[in-house]
Symmetry: C2
Subunit: 474 residues, 2 copies
Amino acid sequence: MTSALLEHLRAAVGADHVLTDGDLAAYTRDWRGRRTGRALAVVRPASTQEVAAVVRACADAGTPLIPQGGNTSLSVGSTPDESGTQVVLSLTRMNRVRTIDRDNLTMTVEAGCILQTLQETADKEGLLFPLSLAAEGSCTIGGNLGTNAGGTQVVRYGNTRELCLGLEVVTPQGEVWDGLSGLRKDNTGYDLRHLFIGSEGTLGVITAATMKLFPQPAAQLTAWAAVPSMKAAVRLLGLAHRHLGAGLTGFEAMGQFALSLVARHMPQLRVPFAGMEGAPYCVLLENSDSESEAHARERFEHLLEQAIDDGCVLDAVVAESLAQAHELWHVRESIPLAQAEEGLNIKHDISIAASRIPAYVEYADALLQREIPGVRLVNFGHLGDGNLHYNVQAPEGGDAKAFLREQEARVNQLVYDAVAKFGGSFSAEHGVGQLKTGELTHYKSPVALSMMRAIKQALDPQGLMNPGCILAVE
Amino acid sequence: MTSALLEHLRAAVGADHVLTDGDLAAYTRDWRGRRTGRALAVVRPASTQEVAAVVRACADAGTPLIPQGGNTSLSVGSTPDESGTQVVLSLTRMNRVRTIDRDNLTMTVEAGCILQTLQETADKEGLLFPLSLAAEGSCTIGGNLGTNAGGTQVVRYGNTRELCLGLEVVTPQGEVWDGLSGLRKDNTGYDLRHLFIGSEGTLGVITAATMKLFPQPAAQLTAWAAVPSMKAAVRLLGLAHRHLGAGLTGFEAMGQFALSLVARHMPQLRVPFAGMEGAPYCVLLENSDSESEAHARERFEHLLEQAIDDGCVLDAVVAESLAQAHELWHVRESIPLAQAEEGLNIKHDISIAASRIPAYVEYADALLQREIPGVRLVNFGHLGDGNLHYNVQAPEGGDAKAFLREQEARVNQLVYDAVAKFGGSFSAEHGVGQLKTGELTHYKSPVALSMMRAIKQALDPQGLMNPGCILAVE
């Protein structure tokens, strides 16, 4: 049975691209190394037709398929289980940019294209592909679509979902749905595109997509502000929306403890307003201007003056050069690494309506400090989208491994219960994967879950597409 | 059986709100008067719980339900068939604005709220709800969501879909899914919201929604440009994107024949560059600025100078006052009425990638003029979104009624085949309704249709929700 399937797979993609021996850890271990599975085979098709042939072969054999892009899931969404009976379908050889349509501001790209390659491709055309996130050098656009990735530019450009106009998908039956389209309006039936986006490979395999492009801004400026409270940060967000309009392309909040970890572990980085009295948070703002750098600066200064008058900003700097702007972003982006240097920690990727974030933070901070004395909260994230990476670090000097082992489940429950209390989401950007199926069952409404299960059953009745991801196998 | 159902409905919503007698044409005839059906009853619930009770009563009785908002569908999407066995579920009594969250830039509103009321509600808060379309004084947000309505601001703010963060829906089983949410990021399972948006009431009843709000622009300016070709209009669109960035909130193209009908039937309106030699199209542009009117004007003038240098604009005016801006928009918005004054015509609501529109128009214009000599093409629309209302008027002095009777099917086929040839959509904004189910079957890929049918079957196995809309009853 298995050898017949392997023969079919070899016939579909060529023997060189059906991997069964050697070190397959790059395909079978998840990005953060939380789980290592085993694969019956790793199959690497080079075209949509090859993907379809692979899916048909697996469907015929009743063999589960795990679609995989750059394998950078933070929720264990793209690796096989330990049974050794699942096939990993790696899309990385499907990495062509099929077309760029400058007048329509779109490009059609294959699922295996690396995100950074797409940014560079757009840039060469004098255009902008705004999706930007930490894993951009490794993750693929297919994975970004499968998980509806977010990142740092969402406040202006939306999530991956909002950047996609059309998809090509291989269905669980191995048929090709050509839903590629550069149309900005198309009201002809159910929006299958949005159903596949964010479905984490459980309903079919995204093989290509038509993505939006934007004109490059004439100038981009970055500012860094010290704020007296999270409430003030939210007020600053409102002012920034009003004064910069769509110019506001980044709005990141960072707690002083998160910044102190950067200062401690990356002493070469200069952290503005580090440890400033009365300023528990700093905010990084980015202003993209279609006119000129002078205009961007003038608008930024106008905003920051208003914010200082208002009291929601204590002090602020605007980067004087591109190098300075990169430095500021680099501080922000170094927080996860600084955290890792400090030791193991419990990560959360939550979202809450911006208006309720101050109350949530006050509530959750107090709760955790009461429940787990000495716990340290590494709170930072894309406040412009209501998205916080609300991470929990072991008490200073404590045994981080023991902390994780003993406290992780409890901390998660405390945090996610608090998030639910404030109407938020336990997974803003990272998806559900295999990691958070329990949270999905617990926090999602039974009505929604029952519709999701009905849709899964309708489109993938054999249950072969990425089983155990999103919806727990029953 | 029927009387038992009526009893249940009366118990659910009160006898006063179950209409069975008198003139029910407002509920049973479609907006353009193409079809008049009969209803078993028109039921007008005032709350989500009442909607759920109505849906359960109909589900128990096996009675089809037609959800209806303002009944302004242009595709016969919200009226019953002629059998007299269907219940119209009118949402117009569910018209409360539940909450406005200024800091989160959202409002949660009930499905029966009139679009214009929502615009005014936002305005009173100093905020903008940007959805804007011809029927805004009558249509409801529930209908806008059900059909994913477009309108004039899509080039900047997207369709209704892009403006919605969360939904409350009564399922075909009469359960309430509370998916209301002001979250801008939430990756926890399949995106049911986007499945319901645009499903035209065939998968459940949208009862409320959380919608995005925006800061009001500090200034809004309108310009009118004469362009030497459709190709030039597309080039102007590219320049406008580059120079105005997200300031570009409107980009409408209008053929000179469409404008000549306005000049003929509304002689009181001044049409700039009417009939100008070498200028087959005019373009209306809107620039919304977060800074000031002076800045908006300066940016507009800069753009138009560049465009005149480039040759894609022959001449242009920028409105000097709000009154002048309204006049320009009024000319654009008068085209449908002027067309109606000229006589019956065959309407199309198509979209094509902006880059391919010039070739499409050249091809389709020549084709129609060859196939139906003397035919007159009323071409105008939201070029910024690739959306044209490519309408076909009987030859001058001809019998319009006879023309419609004899030519409508053929004209539709010529136009939609041409649209398909250029990768476009036969329904950009108006949805499928009962009117275009044949087009859906013909032009949509069988793979997509089969997934749509599977989803319909999974969520509405009894087939009671707006049957015959989108997917033809088999």
